[in-house]
Symmetry: C2
Subunit: 349 residues, 2 copies
């Protein structure tokens, strides 16, 4: 009663040809000549029998699955209410469609990077897309070592020129700082993320460059790190308040690398008597709906996440197919969305 699946042998027998011929016909191989008559017969029989080539067997022998694996930073990240990853996913989906690949979403929670590595190397997919990991990520390093087709999205691992697609963080931060400088701000604070994020370092670099290019002293922008992201919101706000009240000449503008913290600040600072943007201007990164819906709506550095996702799949499938990618790293220009969280710097007291 066990329904064995139809195999190419069944088709071959029914069509009165060898199994090889069936394979040849179904692969539409033009280098081997098959008589039109046999070809049609095989095709007909295959259709009548509802025959479908076994994907695992094909993958085993060809070494290709026509799948790209996507590894989110944590299971579920792709469907977070935060549209960041979802937008990247949209681009990846679009690109996968164009390249003729399917998407395998890794929805597992492995105890160690090694387990994840083993899973990736098992060959369920021809290439892998890593998203938003630390630049010293072990998994990335191992995959590189193994020369497994890999493309990093939204981060640049510590290997110069290793395959990565991201926005142009330097230019993005530049845009933000230039905007603030134009508004007259001369005491800007860059709120840094965890130091292992490549984009955090790149943005800091861009921010400094903008100041330098404007011929202003380096102290115009200062670096602040409030510790790991898990810290409770209240504490973060307290520190921000302290920062904005420090010294004789306190900062007048805050540049955030994300939206959550920026939103938190924009909405909580007024409760501490600090008005946005009257007393302090705030700029965030990403410019998703979140910035748009903050009160007040945040001026934010937008990045083309869709295009980034699309480019990443194309790069990884190209790698998987053996065409060495022309260039290892791709950077997409950002755009500054000016909203209501930035205004002219207040007069010094």
């Amino acid at each position: 009663m066990k329904r064995r699946r139809i195999s190419s042998h069944d088709v071959a027998r029914e069509a009165g040809v060898s199994q090889t011929t069936v394979s040849l016909v179904l692969n539409g191989r033009t280098d081997v000549r098959i008589s039109e008559e046999t070809r049609q017969r095989v095709l007909d029989v295959a259709r009548n029998l509802n025959y479908s080539r076994n994907a695992s067997a094909r993958a085993l022998v060809t070494g290709r699955t026509h799948r790209v694996e996507l590894i989110p930073i944590h299971p579920g990240a792709l469907v977070d209410p935060d549209k960041y990853y979802a937008t990247v996913l949209a681009g990846v989906t679009e690109g996968a469609l164009q390249c003729g690949y399917n998407l395998l979403i890794q929805s597992a929670l492995y105890p160690t990077w090694r387990d994840m590595y083993t899973d990736v190397m098992s060959g369920s997919a021809d290439g892998v897309l890593l998203i938003g990991r630390a630049s010293n990520d072990k998994l990335t390093a191992a995959l590189r070592e193994a020369r497994f087709p890999t493309v990093c999205i939204s981060f640049q691992p510590d290997f110069p020129d290793y395959y990565s697609v991201d926005c142009d963080n330097v230019q993005g931060a530049r845009l933000a700082v230039e905007h603030l400088l134009e508004l007259g701000h001369r005491r800007i604070v860059y709120i840094a993320p965890e130091p292992e994020h490549s984009w955090g370092r790149e943005r800091w670099q861009g921010a400094q460059a903008a100041v330098a290019d404007a011929g202003l002293p380096p102290e115009t922008i200062q670096y602040a790190y409030f510790g790991a992201g898990i810290m409770v919101p209240d504490v973060r706000i307290e520190r921000t308040v302290a920062l904005l009240r420090s010294g004789p000449n306190p900062p007048t503008a805050l540049l955030y690398c994300g939206e959550a913290d920026a939103q938190l600040a924009a909405e909580a600072l007024p409760e501490h008597g600090i008005r946005v943007p009257t007393d302090v201007s705030i700029v965030s990164f990403n410019s998703t709906e979140m910035s748009e819906r903050t009160r007040p709506p945040l001026t934010s550095v937008w990045q083309p996440l869709h295009a980034i996702g699309e480019a990443a799949v194309k790069m990884v499938t190209s790698l998987a197919e053996g065409h060495e990618a022309p260039s290892g790293t791709m950077r997409f220009p950002c755009r500054l969305d000016i909203r209501e969280s930035t205004a002219r710097a207040p007069m010094p007291a």
Copy 2:
């Protein structure tokens, strides 16, 4: 220079055991006793060699991939700005994680349902999740015929009791109509989707039931179908306006099965001199952000899409593992989100 992948034979040789033993150890089989010493040795060698079992080979021989395939109604639906499918995807992701399955997203555009069918049957996944298809869908029928583990999300195919997870459409529509009746509406129009949608029929049934249960005449609610969804918005609005001006006693409430059309109506009717909700009340289905952000915000029937997605994966993996699912169809109760698009019925002229 061709880097052949490490195989279990390599591990076996290095560890001085047979390939069988390697397989036994790595599968952690407890029914076969392996000396603790060999076990450790095999494990160590495997780790040193960075060995990883080939997924395709395993799938070929075991017949299981531990993957669930997701087939959206069109490529990209899962990442539409409309959060409907995205929310289902969130639930599916969550469920897949819990079941230990990965998600294979079918991002292809096949010319015919047959091609899609062939692809599904190729065994890239152990089961398939179909979303939002027509109730007479050919693909669904073929999959059922082939007894391929399949679960339908957000639709019920024309086979009674075939595996399907959806909200309780009858109850949902009931909720909406009861609300309108309480507000004094006695001329309600149900705007129907294409007739091949099971949920359209179920909601119509629920709407009628609510009227009947209230002891009101059947004419209290009337059925309207404006034709295929591709019709240009302007025409749809025109017809709606005509409807709302028809006869001596025109309708005072509109019940939509989706959000796009409801939003369109809510925002366009005022331009035609019909105020919402003063002149006409509008209720939509789904209650995603879209309803929330419409001007005025729409009263809407919410459905637990996350739970639906989660339940669907669990059902399909259960089927794939041979446990006949306890019950073929699951319905989740809806909730009515009352917002500003509904108000007391206007006094008859």
